[in-house]
Amino acid sequence: MVAVRSWGRLSAEDHDLRVLSERPLTHLPRDPGQHGLAFGMGRSYGDVCLNPGGALWSMRGLDRFIAWDEATGELTCEGGMLLRDIQRSFAPRGWMLPVTPGTQLATVGGAIANDVHGKNHHVHGSFGDHVQELRLLRTDGTLIRCGPQLHPDWFAATVGGLGLTGVVTQATLRLRPVPSAWLDTETLPYGSLNEFFALADASEAGWEHTVSWIDCLSGGDPGRTRGIFLRANAAPDAPPGAQPPRDHQRTVPFAPPVSLVNRLSLRPFNAAYYHLNRRRAGRALQHYEPFSYPLDNLQEWNRIYGRRGFYQYQCVVPRPHGPDAVAALLHQITASGQGSFLGVLKTFGNRESVGLLSFPQPGVTLALDFPNLGERTLRLFEQLDAVVAEAGGRLYPAKDARMPRALFEAGYPRLAQFLPYRDPNIRSAMSLRLMGD
């Protein structure tokens, strides 16, 4: 048994870790009566990737490319393939993944299971929109091939299906041709929520990537909520003489006894961050790695939240309620004095996701990390939940460790349609919490 933590480091519980390396994979190893769950990089924040006391199937050994078709841009690879390996192999040849999350240190299987999204949702949707076909291995040994045309019901259950329908052993993804690995970026400071929404609306048509950092302690008054809006398009050429950034890995060496993100550090950091970026306002050429994955070179950055770990709270609320709901959420957060350096506010495009339990939906999404202060933090979340429920929104399971079942059921109305596709021998701490099994 090995103690496994997810990215939020809220718990370290024993798992029966089984490394999958057989090819072709024909069965999922587990003891009789034991439940299993696929595990990739453990980048999910809460309990969606954990299965305490049960088997955890490590997918990282299954990281091979299988086929590549230059004519169609279709890439077939194993489920444990890292998004980073795809990006680094193909970006120099003019192809990239159309959609990635804010880290490229995630596996293809994990990206499918959580139907991850990126900064370009309004153009390219979520990860599942680019999966042509996948192979799902069930614990009874059956292998199901599915895709948008082939067994679309299985496909819709598995994309965003939180790993509960089986194990994604391989997938065929459609990559996107890009003119270069560089981005033409623009940085725009904003000083109110209205300004943010005006920028978001104005950028949707002409900009492929849009995202904003938000000062989570500036939300006492929506008229003074400040942040930094970033937008970018693929640049036609690399800047003359430019080289891709070198790997410059640093590691946070240990988890301090208390969080380094606290009342003392938060306000000055956010102020400094805002003013620093305000001075950088304007256009710049940037390589895709630092723009899209700013934290990937700081290994184990999750340790800065201390030994008790941290939560992330990410919600989406429908656009009509967006401005009011976001103002209310920020008001509660500012009043509580909790929050993090990494507040993200962005709009999703007007498109529905493929998966029955996919998170992205048309609207506004707010994501914030919170050091785990126990009861205080959980009380704040209850207040935030009330705002999200009222606005008809939902929380992101990939980030969640504590949402109440009622909020999950209200936010994911297609849950009943999903349940028949579950593999009876697969479960996670999250499925126990939110589905009772």
């Binding site: 490394v19 090819r23 299988i66 230059e70």
Partner: protein, 255 residues
Amino acid sequence: MQDTLNQSKTVVIVGATSLIAQHCARQWLAVGGIGRMVLVGRDAARLQGVADDLQVRQPQARVEVLAGDVTQAASIAALVQRLAAQGVPDVVLIAHGSLPDQPQCQTDLASAEEAMAVNGLSPALCAEAFAGLMQPLGRGTIGIIGSVAGDRGRKSNYVYGAAKGLVERYAEGLQHRLAGTGVQVVLVKPGPTDTPMTAHLKARGAKLASVEQVAQAVVRGMARGTPVVYAPAKWALIMAVIRNLPRVVFHKMDI
């Protein structure tokens, strides 16, 4: 070295389905400059899976597979001749091996015999065969994956350790023979590495070096022609201590 810039460079990997070998291949292809890569091993289908992966990573290189038995002297000689027919490789990595079950080797001599053949005799004979090709040309690099287990016999895995010790002595002799010829022999000694071979150790919670890290040490050591490479480097220090422990102390240790 210098010839890394030569587009027509040929790399041969024996035991190419091993995880360390696969990651070495990925790193070589990522750097570029390799025209042809031949993957040698027992199982053609498994080799083809590795070849497909590498071919997607680097479409400009020609990735081929060659299946054969590398545990019998005659078949090693035949395989190496077939390879030589298409030109003498510039770089050879000998990477195959298997971690035997020590208690089983103690009760079942056939297991012990097989473990020593696969991990000791076979890599040594492969190195000999390739050295014979390269010496007349006066160029080439042979990398052999040994193990820190070869540094001192320990009760927990001395059958494997003895085989790897044989590899070390063999490599040392080859280095002596080829000194000054332009052919380089590099012995890499990984510590416990996170591979399917050590999955049971990982499941018990052991801290293992990542396979990427070890592969990087192999590729870098072979480029520089470093005679002996510990991967990661800290194992040089750990093994220096273990090798030099007085017997009375060593025998009290449960390692």
